[in-house]
Amino acid sequence: MLKFLQGSKKTKKIGFKSLLPISAILCLVLTINLLSGCSQKPPSGQEAKGEPETGAKADEFIILATTTSTYDSGLLDVLLPAFTKKYGIEVRVVSKGTGQVLEIGKRGDADALLVHDRAAELKLVEEGYFTDRQDVMYNDFIVVGPSADPARVKGHQKVMDAFAAIASGGHNFVSRGDDSGTNRKELSVWKKAGIDASGGWYLSVGQGMGDTLRMAGEMQAYTLADRATYLSLKGSLNLEIVLEGDPVLFNQYGIMSVNPAKHSHVKYDSARKFIEFMMSPEGQEMIASFQIGGESLFFPGKGVAD
């Protein structure tokens, strides 16, 4: 009876061996994937400067932090492939408002910057954060609003008067409110006009240019926009230009490199090559010929005297 009692016992391994190979494979796959993720950025300390030519030049890349206006307009989609083709350096774009971009640059989290707040840029170059700054292109800001133009902005020449008309009539005005170049410009106009921009009519939305324009269109409100973004979105917006041409609204874009003296890890040489390319006749020509719907969005070079 019960012959199972005569069994050869062996105290061996526990019986979930089958789990081990699976987890081993998982770990391997994960590690490889993570490493490949890391390897997209070479270890710090390995700088562009004096880097030995190992032939892996094509894999090199720089981080370009730029404003949403240049990115959303599609200009970089034209310029960057040409640059990459010529120099074998990939450009990875992080697009944020100018304020954020400058902050990213100050922290050393990018190699090159393309922004539009000239005064702030020059100040930060002076403070040593950035270097090799060039006035790369310009366009202008415009005031857009509903075609009915309830604030009668169209009659004005000066943006300060237009803003005053909007404020005094309590007409809706949408502000980027994101410390971008456009937002900084807008705030400087309110300040110069001596107007306290607050109240139910003033909506600070904290969005990029595209979303801000869209919101202004939905609300039939006024806003300050850069011309490039407005032109690229015009088709889907219910807004028109109500004021343009005031010299105050001039919009200069600057390009610069993060100063390797502040952040030794930045790929300064490659960033300089990018700046050189943008300032070269070829780059400047590409900027000049970039159009949307038959209209130029940017003009090459420096558009204003200091």
Binding site: M1, F4, S8, K9, K10, T11, I14, G15
Partner: protein, 247 residues
């Protein structure tokens, strides 16, 4: 008399939660015998089983396994000792695997060879009358079938000490009979020591050779089954076996 070797012995065993639930001066279990633990509800029967299976640590006391101290001064028992005993709960938990896998569990944990496992599982399935259920998901079995699988799973690896906590509570008569039959067969064919807790005084009279009467956490009386039922010394034991003690 099949062996007088001491399998398990406890000394000064106590367990205190909010109040004292167990306080046993000395109790021992010998090889090859069936012990019945009886007593009213709250007597500490299940707690006692949990203590000697090391599922809970006693507040004080020592436990000896085959003469060796395995629980002294708060140190627990190691795997080699734990692998020589097992317990079947009143409401057994079967793993969400096949009936076969359930029975094989303890064998796999002990590193038995595949063929050996296969052989034992098949023998046991027949023994508990479930050979057609081998591939079935264990959690879909009825209460009686589940209890039979649990018993098969427990004896598969021939523990030296088999603890049964109310193994037939809430079962229908035919399953009760089947399980009692299995217990008696085990006793006849092996030298397993079986300790079963039961609240059923008829079962306590039918199955064990020795009976321990627990009351309020203390051993009131122990002795040969017949003697305990016919001429108990303690009036409380008499009251209980005659069914006069409320529980």
């Amino acid at each position: 008399m099949p062996g007088s070797e001491m399998i398990l012995e406890v000394k000064n065993l106590s367990k205190v939660y909010d109040k004292e639930v167990i306080n046993i001066g000395q109790l021992s279990f010998r090889r090859g015998r069936i012990y019945g633990i009886i007593g009213p509800s709250g007597a500490g029967k299940s707690t006692f089983l949990r203590l000697i299976n090391f599922l809970e640590a006693p507040t004080t006391g020592d436990i000896y396994f085959k003469g060796e101290p395995v629980f002294m001064n708060g140190r627990g028992a190691g795997l080699p000792v734990l692998q020589k005993m097992t317990m079947v709960f009143q409401k057994p938990l079967l793993f969400k695997t096949s009936v076969k896998e359930n029975i094989a569990y303890g064998l796999k944990a002990r590193g038995f060879k595949k063929e050996e496992i296969q052989e034992r599982v098949e023998t046991l399935l027949k023994k508990v009358g479930l050979n057609e259920f081998a591939g079935r998901l264990a959690t879909t079995l009825s209460g009686g079938e589940a209890q039979r699988v649990a018993l098969a799973r427990a004896v598969a690896f021939e523990p030296a000490l088999l603890l049964l906590d109310e193994p037939t509570a809430n079962l229908d008569p035919s399953n009760v009979e089947l399980i009692e039959r299995l217990i008696l067969d085990l006793n006849r064919d092996t030298d397993m020591t079986i300790v079963m807790v039961t609240h059923n005084i008829f079962q306590a009279r039918r199955i064990p050779q020795e009976v321990i009467f627990l009351h309020e956490g203390r051993v009131v009386e122990t002795g040969e089954t017949e003697k305990m039922f016919t001429s108990p010394e303690d009036p409380r034991t008499r009251a209980f076996v005659e069914g006069r003690m409320i529980f």
